[in-house]
Every structure is written in C-alpha cells, then in structure tokens.
C-alpha cells in the first residue's frame, strides 16, 4: 500500500524551504528565485530516468523520447499521462497537462495564479534533468493560464 501523499508533502516542503531560504538571504530581491527548486527537480529527474530506463532499448529518436516522457515517465511520477503533446518538428515541444498534480490542490480561479510558478518549477527541473540524462539538452519553461492546467515548453538546444 504505497502512497504518494508523501511525495506531495515533500514537494511542498521543498518549495517552502527554498522560498524561506531566499527570503533570509536576500530580502529585497524583486523576483522570486526558483532556481534551486528547479535544480532539486533536475537532480531528481536525472537519477529517476536512469533507473526507469535501465532495462529498456535505446529510443529511436527525439520524438520517441518525448513520447516516453509524456506517457510512461509522466505516469510513473504523476499517475496520469500528459494530455496533449505538440511539436514543430524543429526541437520545440509543448506538453500540456490539463490537471497538473501540484496545481490541483490550489483554487482553480485566478486568485493563486501568481504563485503557480512555485509549484511547476520542480517539474520543469524533472523534465530537463531526465532529458539531459538521455543526452538531450534543453530549456524547459512552464506556462499556466488556467489552473490547474499547465503547459511545459521544451526547447531543445542544438550545438
């Protein structure tokens, strides 16, 4: 009888810890610095995907990797799949989750839209970390317009 309440609560505490820490360090910073939350997500994703894909054959291409992130990987972490995946076939992918787990506990009105970035940073990191481990370097940003729906934008960096 395993439970993911623990993961939920742990995630909230990570957000709290990083914000409190920021506040005590630089009180007068204008924008919230969420980079440490993102980095904790990055480390988690980087290690998590390595364990999940240990026994799997290599992915055929970038698109197949993204599909894996949207289906199996997302289900493993958030107990549901990504609802919609779009791409321009030139390295930009948009993953849409219509009921993103960490936002479903917040009011779905406009009231908390401002704090939504706090609750999606960790996941941006998870995506960036997992793709980094699969040798895809990218930038990941999130866009929240209507809670609890969230769009993750992935921009693959080609060198």
């Amino acid at each position: 009888m395993s439970d993911d309440a623990l993961f939920d609560f742990l995630h909230s505490e990570i957000v709290n810890y990083v914000l409190e820490r920021n506040q005590s360090q630089n009180k007068d910073a204008k924008d919230e610095d969420l980079s440490n939350i993102e980095y904790i997500g990055f480390s988690t994703g980087y290690r998590m995907i390595e364990r999940l894909t240990k026994e799997m054959p290599r992915f055929k291409d970038e698109l197949e990797t993204m599909k894996f992130i949207c289906t199996d990987f997302w289900s493993a972490i958030y107990k549901k799949q990504i609802d919609n995946l779009r791409t321009n076939h030139q390295g930009v992918y948009v993953l849409q989750d219509n009921a993103f787990k960490f936002l479903t506990r917040l009011s779905s009105g406009k009231q908390y839209l401002e704090v939504a970035p706090r609750y999606v940073s960790f996941t941006c990191g998870i995506i960036r970390g997992s793709l980094a481990n699969l040798n895809i370097n990218c930038l990941v940003t999130a866009e929240v317009q209507n809670m609890p729906s969230c769009k993750f934008h992935i921009q693959v960096q080609r060198t």
């Binding site: 990083v18 493993a76 972490i77």
Partner: protein, 181 residues
C-alpha cells in the same frame, strides 16, 4: 498534435513511488548541505521539515484508515507502525520499551529513505533520517501528544538496523489560540 499510445504502466508502481521519494529527498538534502555551512543545522532543518510533513500526514492517515482514539502509548506505537507501512512501505518492529512504558523504539531492517544513499566522510555526523523523527513528532503533536524522537542506530553509519527512539513527554491540553476567548 502527436498521437501518443495509451500504455498501461510499465513499471512497478510501488517501487517507483518509493524511489521517487528517496531521490527527491536526496536532492533536497544535497541542496541543504550546499546552503548551510553547519551539518547540525542541516539535521535540525530536516527535523523541522519532517515536523511540517507530519502535521499534514496525520490528517491523511486518519482520513484513510478511519482510526479512533488510542488507548495507550502501546496502541499509538502500533498505529505509527501502520503509518510506516503506508507511507514508506516497510513495517518496523516496535521494541525496547522502557520500564516505565514511556519510551520505545522502531527498528527497521531496511530504510527506503536511505536506499541508494551513501554519506561522504565529511558528513558522517549528518542525521539523514531526521525527517522521520520530525514527522513522528509533528503527527503526534496534532493528536495532543508531546514526544521526543531521535535516531539511535543508523544503517548509513554502518549499524545493523535503523532504530528510531520515541519518548513520551506529556499530554497536551487543548489550548485556545492566544488572543481568543
């Protein structure tokens, strides 16, 4: 729009959940070690974090298990044992009761929180599992029990088992919040 095939989970959900918590927690501890200079401060912070989680976990626990009031501390220990099983997937033994019956230990053969974890030499004094002690203290405070909890044995430090000690301090009385009649 890309068509994604619906797949049933390929993975062992239980194992994945547990590893997800372990890895996330590990990443957090690593961040704290970077942030805070003093290892004792990290341990303290972890306990506090556990406390915050405990005060929320107990609500989840009571709602899901439908348990009522505990008769005595022994009963409480049994219920925490169930909670271990629910949230960490391991069932510790309850033992080493003090003569007065106000102190006991949870003994874990394996500790999911420390799976995949190794402490470097300069962090040997870190109380990595303090999160659990904090969670126990936080959860029990919500049901009017003031306890102390600390780690006696730790597999991370080469001990055979992980032993978490709990000591009953007192029963808390319902108190009105300050400033209210």
């Amino acid at each position: 729009m890309v068509i994604m095939s619906r797949s049933t989970s390929k993975f062992d959900t239980k194992k994945v959940n547990s590893e997800l918590v372990t890895l996330t927690y590990g990443a957090l501890v690593a961040q704290m070690v970077k942030d805070l200079e003093n290892t004792d401060d990290v341990s303290k912070q972890l306990e506090r974090l556990g406390y915050n989680m405990g005060i929320r976990l107990i609500e989840d626990f009571l709602a899901k298990t439908n348990t009522g009031r505990c008769f005595d501390l022994k009963d409480t220990a049994d219920k925490i044992q169930t909670a271990f099983k629910m949230y960490l997937g391991v069932q510790p033994n309850v033992s080493n009761w003090s003569a007065a019956g106000d102190e006991f230990s949870f003994i874990l053969d394996s500790n999911p929180l420390t799976d995949l974890v190794e402490l470097p030499d300069d962090l040997k004094s870190l109380k990595y599992c303090n999160l659990i002690c904090g969670a126990i203290r936080g959860a029990l405070e919500m049901v009017q029990l003031d306890v102390q909890s600390w780690i006696v044995q730790d597999q991370l430090k080469g001990d055979q088992n992980t032993e978490i000690r709990v000591k009953f301090i007192r029963r808390l009385e319902d108190a009105m919040p300050a400033g209210e009649e």
